[in-house]
């Protein structure tokens, strides 16, 4: 038996829970796919890696698929403390961080230089931006050849200055030099700086493009006003232009710090951490002890990764905190 329901009372059924909370739920539904992948590829591996750093493991499972890892607690970290290669890598990481920062002011000056209206400026800009577009691996290879004391630019210039062309015992052309050509990538003192110089090339281009976009947004009226007040040259740059470029500077510093800490490709291509480990940085050392041909120490590699993670976390937290402060201030 059905009652005729009066149109006034209970007109519509209670809206479902989903409908009532639509606004709160919708963002999460859209976020779910990204969160799942972020968890699988980023968050879970971080914890796996932290956990693995407490084991000694050569990366093998036995025939039944059980891991052959043994628990060693913090022994891997104790080993790190006594490992000269680890300290070399850490020192190189700091050298990278400090010297890589040069990319920020250099990028700014190139950007200022290119921020003019001249015929063909787009072409020059794209040429300056070019090194950032090509792969780091290619940059590493090119600089590796560039530094080569036999056939590279360095070697050729050296031969022109210090060497004599002679013929050897078989009558083939050879060179005798009053002093041997500098072998930058094989010198434990200079190799790291050689690689950093190579790394700066694309990094400067990156900072430059950040500043070029930033310069587009510099308020012309403020420049004009400053000019009327008699500001010019360095003062104009420092007190009027640079403060307006603050967002660009912030991003440039962030990408440069992170770029310096994850410098891996160039080292892998140019020296493989050599000669005898003197150009290693933490990211490459971690690869070397865990995954490379002579590695097979996954626990130890994970402890290196953990230290690197800690350093990165420090910088990233600071950047996030800064961004949060800025956003609060902006409201």
């Amino acid at each position: 038996m059905t009652h005729a329901v009066s149109p006034q009372s209970d007109a519509r059924p209670q809206p479902s829970w989903m409908k009532r909370n639509k606004l709160a739920i919708a963002p999460w539904i859209f976020l779910i796919p990204a969160l799942i992948f972020f968890a699988i590829y980023v968050v879970i591996p971080i914890f796996e890696s932290l956990w693995l750093s407490l084991y000694e493991w050569n990366g093998l499972y036995d025939a039944e698929g059980n891991s052959t890892a043994t628990w060693v607690g913090f022994a891997n970290y104790a080993k790190l403390w006594d490992d000269p290669n680890f300290w070399t890598s850490l020192r190189n990481n700091i050298a990278w961080l400090v010297l890589y920062m040069l990319a920020v002011p250099l990028g700014l000056f190139i950007a200022l230089f290119l921020n003019q209206t001249v015929t063909g400026m787009r072409f020059y800009k794209s040429m300056f931006f070019f090194p950032f577009v090509i792969s780091q691996v290619v940059v590493g290879l090119i600089f590796g050849w560039f530094y080569n004391p036999d056939f590279g630019v360095v070697g050729t210039v050296w031969k022109a200055v210090f060497c004599e062309e002679t013929t050897n015992i078989l009558g083939n052309v050879t060179f005798t030099c009053s002093r041997p050509a500098p072998d930058i990538l094989s010198s434990p003192e200079w190799a790291t700086y050689g690689i950093i110089a190579a790394g700066l090339w694309p990094q400067i281009a990156y900072c430059m493009i950040l500043y070029l976009t930033g310069l587009n947004n510099v308020a012309a009226d403020q420049i004009e006003a400053a000019r009327l007040d008699g500001a010019k040259g360095w003062k104009m740059l420092w007190y009027v232009v640079v403060p307006q470029l603050k967002p660009a500077t912030f991003i440039a510093v962030v990408v440069t710090v992170i770029g310096a800490l994850r410098s891996f490709d160039m080292i892998a291509i140019m020296t493989q951490g050599g000669p005898f480990g003197s150009t290693n940085v933490l990211s490459h050392y971690m690869f070397e002890v865990a995954i490379s041909e002579y590695g097979e120490r996954y626990g130890y590699g994970s402890s290196v990764a953990t230290v690197l993670f800690g350093i990165m976390l420090f910088f990233i937290s600071y950047f996030l905190w800064r961004m949060y402060q800025d956003e609060k201030g902006g409201r």
Partner: protein, 410 residues
């Protein structure tokens, strides 16, 4: 726990690919894509198929470096019936993790204990034999015969003759040795030879097994000899930024006259434009006449994973690859030496000389980086490179290697 999870995922992924496995299969994972070695292997597979028409042979060929990574997964997740790998310490992690099967019965049933006697110690671990080798090659000194003729030099037989020859080369503007140590292992070849000639095979093994220290007087003596070689003979400048292939350039140009290398390098010399008349091979000279001659002869071998599904077929393959006629043909194709003492060799002069050399050897070392565990090999080879760049750091390097040794073998 998460380690298991990872295996499980890998296993699922791999079974999906290998789903078509049939009952009477033989799955072989081989590790060389270079044209010569690949052809040698494929020809052997064809012959095996024609002799065993009932077996369905499935072949996966990967390149060397990729194979080194992949083997760590596939032995557990989706084991083939046969995989190629290296003997000596390189097989130790897999043997210790129980991932390879002992194959003593294959050796006993086929008379390999006699025919492959020279390599038996290298293929053994924990009193069992773990694989069957199909090929190896000699190391020694490759030299420019035309330069030696010009300077009226004979092949030096002893250390003093070598140093004297070096003196004459230097006086005539020739750098005695070329080498490229960028990838480190070439320096290990020089170290191994000086050590084998100074102290012999047993000390080489004891050192790579972690039984004697690097600061042991015998090893220090090796380094002293090496220092003499560096000061009185000398290596090309800038060797730390050259690969072994780059180091062929001064050799081909006639700037350097000798190269401590393995036989695989002959191809490189020929590609650089040298003819067989211009290059020749000699054994590394004797240093201490009381030390029995031992040589470097890295071998390539086949192993049966514990998780192999067709073990009977796999054993047939192992018996097949060590047969004299198969080893003869295979090694002719790839330009290396057969290990089976009943096999014939090609009439290539380097192969002939190498065969004579290895047959008279009392011990066959695999190579520093195959005999020593990975972490030790890496630190050791870095130390060798550092020493070559600055011999005055000798004791500092040796002391550091002692610390690493303590850590690795504990």
């Amino acid at each position: 726990m998460f380690l298991k999870l990872k295996t499980a995922t890998a296993a699922i992924a791999l079974t999906a690919m290998a789903g078509a496995a049939m009952a009477n299969d033989l799955v072989i994972n081989f590790d060389d894509l270079n044209p010569g070695p690949k052809k040698g292997f494929e020809d052997a597979v064809e012959l095996f198929k024609s002799e065993n028409p009932d077996i369905n042979v499935v072949v996966n060929i990967n390149d060397r470096e990729a194979h080194k990574t992949a083997i760590r997964n596939f032995l557990t997740a989706d084991a083939p019936d046969i995989t190629s790998w290296y003997p000596g310490n390189r097989m130790a992690p897999f043997v210790d993790a129980g991932l390879f099967q002992p194959v003593d019965d294959v050796w006993a049933d086929n008379g390999f204990n006699e025919d492959l006697a020279a390599i038996k110690a290298t293929m053994s671990r924990d009193g069992k034999i773990w694989g069957v080798p199909y090929s190896y090659y000699q190391w020694g000194i490759y030299y420019r015969k035309d330069i030696f003729d010009l300077l009226e030099l004979e092949e030096p037989q002893t250390w003093d003759e070598l140093l004297a020859a070096c003196g004459k080369m230097k006086a005539n503007g020739v750098t005695p040795f070329t080498i490229g140590t960028k990838f480190l292992w070439t320096a290990a070849g020089v170290f191994d030879y000086i050590n084998l000639r100074t102290n012999g095979y047993d000390v080489h093994n004891a050192l790579t097994a972690g039984e004697i220290k690097y600061t042991d007087p015998r090893i220090v003596a090796t380094f002293d000899n090496w220092e003499t070689l560096i000061s009185e003979c000398g290596f090309v400048d800038n060797h730390a930024s050259m690969s072994w292939q780059d180091a062929i350039a001064p050799f081909a140009n006639g700037d350097a006259a000798m190269y401590v290398m393995g036989n695989f390098s002959v191809d490189g010399y020929k590609n650089a434009g040298l003819t067989e008349d211009q290059i020749d091979f000699m054994p590394f000279p004797t240093i201490d006449p009381a030390v029995a001659p031992a040589e470097e002869a890295p071998a390539d071998a086949f192993f049966i994973p514990t998780n192999a599904k067709n073990v009977e077929n796999a054993k047939k393959w192992l018996a097949f690859v060590a047969r004299p006629d198969v080893q003869t043909q295979w090694n002719k194709t790839i330009g290396q030496l057969p290990i089976n003492s009943k096999a014939d060799i090609s009439d290539d002069k380097f192969i002939q000389e190498g065969f004579a050399l290895l047959n008279s050897a009392t011990g066959l070392a695999q190579f520093f980086d195959r005999d020593a565990p990975a972490a030790m090999a890496k630190a050791g080879m870095e130390g060798f490179q550092e020493f070559m760049l600055d011999p005055s750091k000798k004791m500092a390097v040796l002391e550091r290697l002692d610390t690493v040794q303590e850590e690795v073998y504990k």
